[in-house]
């Protein structure tokens, strides 16, 4: 099977690293892009045996078409783009500065869009490709204290739908992978909501546990598999039932 090329935006994030491992194991050449170039380099050093290229992501508002061209020259035309989110900003809305909201929009929406446009344009020229935007559950409903994250994630969901509507006919499938609550997210929720421990978070999840890396990888594999050829615009939640549950019973679904 000829080697394929994937671009991972924010590859140095926790999720980015998990997906990089899965893609390397599947034989992809990987462009590891991260605002922190050291994080991308550390990841590249760990992916022994994979062909990688580490790149520093330019700031929001930058044109990344040149970088994608560089990746195509170095590793081959990209057939897969994965964008990952930054750590969330958790702050009460009454304390949220406009600049902080703007930063959430830049980091979660504007920067991934630039990569979608640049990589998607080349994929359309090739007549095939796949984009997966990794998002958080905060984009599916209101999360007190997570306004910037929630608003920008919701925008990414409609970005995903719109690109699916525009580009599927051109052979480029675009979907979102909405990850469940990670241990880091549970700690952020615990701090933001002043909870005494994480049990309330776990009780909120019908399957009764936090998401594990292999859960995410299984969902990711489903979306990128060429046999999922009629799947586009999907918003796949790997959330243990979090979003489906209506939260009526105080104290958690498991009580």
């Amino acid at each position: 099977m000829p080697e394929k090329t994937a671009i991972l935006f924010r590859a140095g994030s926790e999720t980015g690293a998990v997906l990089a491992d899965a893609l390397a194991a599947a034989g992809y050449a990987l462009a590891l892009v991260d605002p922190d170039p050291a994080a991308a380099s550390v990841l590249a050093a760990r992916l022994v045996g994979a062909r990688t290229l580490s790149l520093a992501a330019p700031p929001a508002g930058s044109n990344v078409e040149g970088l994608v061209a560089e990746i195509a020259r170095g590793l081959g035309e990209p057939s897969l783009l994965v964008t990952c989110p930054p750590d969330p900003l958790v702050v009460k809305s009454t304390d949220l500065a406009e600049a902080s909201l703007q930063e959430s929009m830049n980091e979660i929406l504007v920067r991934p869009f630039a990569w979608c446009r640049a990589a998607g344009g080349r994929m359309l020229a090739q007549g095939e490709g796949c984009i997966v935007n990794v998002l958080r559950l905060s984009g599916l409903g209101g999360w007190p204290g997570w306004l910037g994250d929630s608003a920008a994630m919701a925008a990414m969901i409609n970005l995903t739908h719109t690109l699916a509507a525009e580009w599927t006919a051109g052979g480029v499938r675009t979907s979102a992978l909405v990850g469940g609550i990670t241990p880091a997210n549970a700690a952020q929720i615990e701090r933001g909501a002043a909870l005494a421990g994480q049990q309330a978070v776990i009780d909120r999840i019908p399957l009764g546990r936090l998401v594990a890396p292999e859960d995410l990888v299984a969902g990711f594999n489903y979306l990128v598999d060429p046999e999922s050829s009629y799947v586009s615009g999907e918003v796949l939640r790997i959330d243990g039932g979090w979003d489906a549950w209506g939260r009526l019973h105080a104290g958690g679904v498991r009580k």
């Binding site: 739908h161 509507a165 399957l207 594999n221 009629y230 799947v231 586009s232 939640r237 243990g240 039932g241």
Partner: protein, 256 residues
Amino acid sequence: MSTPSLAGRVALITGSGRGLGLSFARHLGALGATCVIAEKDEAAGQAAEAALRGEGVSARFVPIDVTQCDSVDRAAALCLEEFGRLDIWINNAGVALHRASEEVTAESWDLSIAIMLSGTFYGCRAAGRIMLARDGGTIINIASINGMVAQSGRAAYSAAKAGVIRLTEVLAGEWGSRKVRVNAIAPGVILTELSERAIKSGAATVEIYEQRTPAKRLGRLEELKNAVVFLASDASSYVTGQTLRVDGGWVSDHFL
């Protein structure tokens, strides 16, 4: 990227004498699952059983009328008696009746709701009772893009399928902590005998469907394989309450 094994698992699929249901049985059977062909049309059910056995799949036809809860319970009990377990249950039986809403008869409305919404609930309940009392399991309800976006002339079908999606979410919340996962698949317009009949009846033309779909083509039966295998297997062990769309982008496009 790696194909899961379903060896040793038992799957019951309603409405699997033909079309989508038969293809689901074929996909699961190819991965080692024993398939119970639950079908109202006995001739079609027996033919499906014979065809699958000819392909090396362990298959068994059981008669079912999903509109009758006793019949659904009997099929579930028979499955348990014969195979000693029930791991996967797919509520697939359906009917697609097209008619302007002002002309829909009470009988036609009731039939659509009975087969696709009540029948799905009876199936979930029968499977859930067994799975909750044992080692858990996975239930897959076949919804539709019409459960998410409206289509003229399909009032009962759309209402039933929307009900199936919310039913899926309710059961996911209720049963998740007891190792029973409940998910749905919402196919777009897939080329089957059912959709061909709808096209021939003049409800829409192939060209209209293709133009409406971002992928600009109808789906193929084999393109549902990944979704059903993902939800039936342990690959989706952290997925419940999800409705997977296999629609060529149909629901994403809210524009013209």
